[in-house]
């Protein structure tokens, strides 16, 4: 999704709610992020647009909380608990996700397959697409 700064972003999104897992002293989510406005977008393997400085999911721990909740590698995180993530530095994003007083994070993510799923479901009628719960899909303006 190419985006010009200042222009509204249109995306098919999925809501994902992750319950943090407590491991000793830490609350972990079980994934890794990459990207940020202070990072080089050209090195992002997941972004379609190589100037996209958003936060992407680069790794998912299998059987971890994020995986169970439906997060997948390559997802772009748009919001965390209501806070926008599309214009964040890497560290700010990490901090947003790792607040000690929050037990659950509600993410708004997008991925390419969502768009395709919606297109196909709109275009070819009754064909079922397995792509997360349909009720979670929303067009966001």
């Amino acid at each position: 999704m190419t985006s010009m700064p200042g222009q509204p972003v249109t995306a098919v999104v999925q809501r994902i709610e992750i319950q943090k897992l407590r491991q000793a002293d830490n609350l972990i989510l079980g994934f890794s992020i990459g990207g940020g406005i202070d990072q080089d977008p050209g090195q992002n393997p997941f972004s379609k647009d190589k100037t996209d400085k958003g936060i992407y999911v680069t790794r998912i721990t299998p059987e971890g909380p994020a995986h169970e909740a439906g997060l997948r590698m390559g997802d772009k995180i748009l919001q965390v608990n209501g806070w926008d993530m599309t214009m964040m530095t890497h560290d700010q994003a990490r901090k947003r996700l790792t607040k000690k007083n929050e037990d659950v994070v509600r993410l708004l993510v997008t991925r390419k397959s969502l768009e395709e799923a919606v297109k196909q479901s709109m275009g070819s009628g009754p064909r079922q697409e397995h792509c997360g719960t349909p009720s979670n899909h929303k067009l966001m303006h």
């Binding site: 491991q23 830490n26 079980g30 994934f31 890794s32 990072q39 790794r59």
Partner: protein, 667 residues
Amino acid sequence: MNNSKNQRDSDIQKKIDHEIRMRDGACKLLAACSQKDQALEAAKSLQTCSTRIMAYMSELQRMKEAQVMQKVTRRSSDAGPMDDRHPCKGKVAISDLRIPLMWKDTEYFKNKGELHRCAVFCLLQLGGEIFDTDMVIVDRTLTDICFDNTIVFNEASPGFELRVELYSCCSEDDYSAGSTPRKLASKLSSSLGRSAGKKLRSAMEPGPCSPVSNGGAAPLLLPVPSVPGPKYHLLAHTTLSLSHVQDSFRTHDLTISGNEECSYWLPLYGSMCCRLAAQPQCMTQQMMSGCLKVKQLGGDPQSSTEVYAVLKGTSLFCYHRQEDVEANVEPAFTIAINKETRIRASEKDPHSKVQNICISNQYGGEEVTHTLTTDSREDTHRWMEAFWQHFYDMSQWKQCCDDLMKIELPSPRKPAPVTPKQGSLYHEMVIESSDDLSSTVSDILARRMQELELRSQLGTSPTWMSVFDENNPKSAGRPRPCTSRLSGHSPCTPHRLPRSPVIPHRCPQLGLLSSDASLTSDSDSHCSTSPCSQRHGWPEPSSNFSLLSSSPSRLRPRTLSLDAKLSTLRGRGYGAGGTFQCPCQPPPSSLLTPLPISSCSPRSQRSTQTTLSCSSSTSSNSSSNSEGSHSPESSEGAPFSRPSPARRSLRNLRARLDPRNWLQSQV
């Protein structure tokens, strides 16, 4: 014996005289020349000559001492032939030296401060031979110092010590150390900014920084006749030996002399990457040849084949006739002679009274024995002797005898045109009068690009190149010059292009496969899924990348040990891994690169390259607590020599703060 000694003496004497003459010439040239570059080159020749003279003189000294010792001991010892076995000599070649630099990111990105430039070159010494590399001007736009030269030492013994020394000399643009009068210099230094003044002042006094702080390691520096002009100082050194020889690139630690206050200082990362190969003579030459009768045990007992056998490398080649050897005809058969071979002389045959030699090999669990019969007992002795010598050589040269390592002889290159300081189109283009003026600009540029490809050892390619890159129109907007880097060589590509560009889409792979960042906890992560296996469902990125691959704006300078480690990967298809170059003229070899992406995915799971933690998912299971896709990894395996813990944490910190990395954090 005396004659040969005298011969050697006079040889050395001649060499010394030759070098003294060269040195005088260099001194004169240094005094006479006005251009900075000439002065630097002349100073370099001066340095090399002085070092050679020193080496020859010490060798002469040693020979004289040996003569004296021999005269003394000859009375006491027997005059019989020495019974020691001497291993064969060999050729040792060192090539593709690359020394990464570690600039502060403020210096690197924001271009703060004046451009501090240094001229550097390497001196390599093995035995009595000393060679120097070409001189390279280094400033903070470079991420590595690369030397293109391949240097071959003949007559090296297996216990060789190859000493590599890096000399550098400050080359400030307008402040040539010798020429500014002191009063003016001090006035300038007080009126300039603090750092500039400091540098100038230290350039004035090259003395204090150098040999004193060496810590005892005596450089090969001979007290040079004091000539006004640039002086080189030893910046770093290391010694390589047989254990460092390998058919691929390895990283070695450098010992750095000098400190930040010295004018000739460069922020070295602390390691050096190079390819050190050795070809012992037992692998390249015929060690023994002659006629034999060969019989294979288990075969027809009466049939023994008459062959002309040649012992070379790891095999005994048996040809039908002697002429076949020169004619390059395939041998009739080959018997392996390697570390697992067992050779013994069998009992005397009662009929012929000649001993047979039995050679046993294990071919996949089965033992195969060949029996060799010679014509006479002396022949048998000679063959046994040859075999013993061969085995001894192989035990001395160790890993060099497993396979023949290729050594490329340096081809005569056309003289490199000097890099202009500006990078604009008009400064670079030379329209020769012989050119047909009707030939198009693009032809000229194509030729120009070829020239640049051949000679860009500095790695800076002019910014105008990006304008002509059709694939990415966006890149025209980026004013930043692309920094190219000499890549480690892909072991896969059969023909080594010295600068085979590694397409940047490999970089995302690396970012993808990096080990866990552990900002919140240092616990070893759960087993990570192989990113590659998931890639099958995401075929787009690869094709995307190949489209965008030729865009120079995608590139970022890569530094540090990642490149070194990645370049030691064999056969993974990464080739040179993390090193990148501005592929301003995407050559046909770029077509090779889409293959590695697909070929690596299924293999990554079974990869045994655990030495590389940064770019394989299996090795990310071995702990590594640095984050970032390209941060200098300091806690993994063999190819990257381990720095001290303090340095490691500092590097980790720098890695995290280094904006050139694409950070990944685990949450």
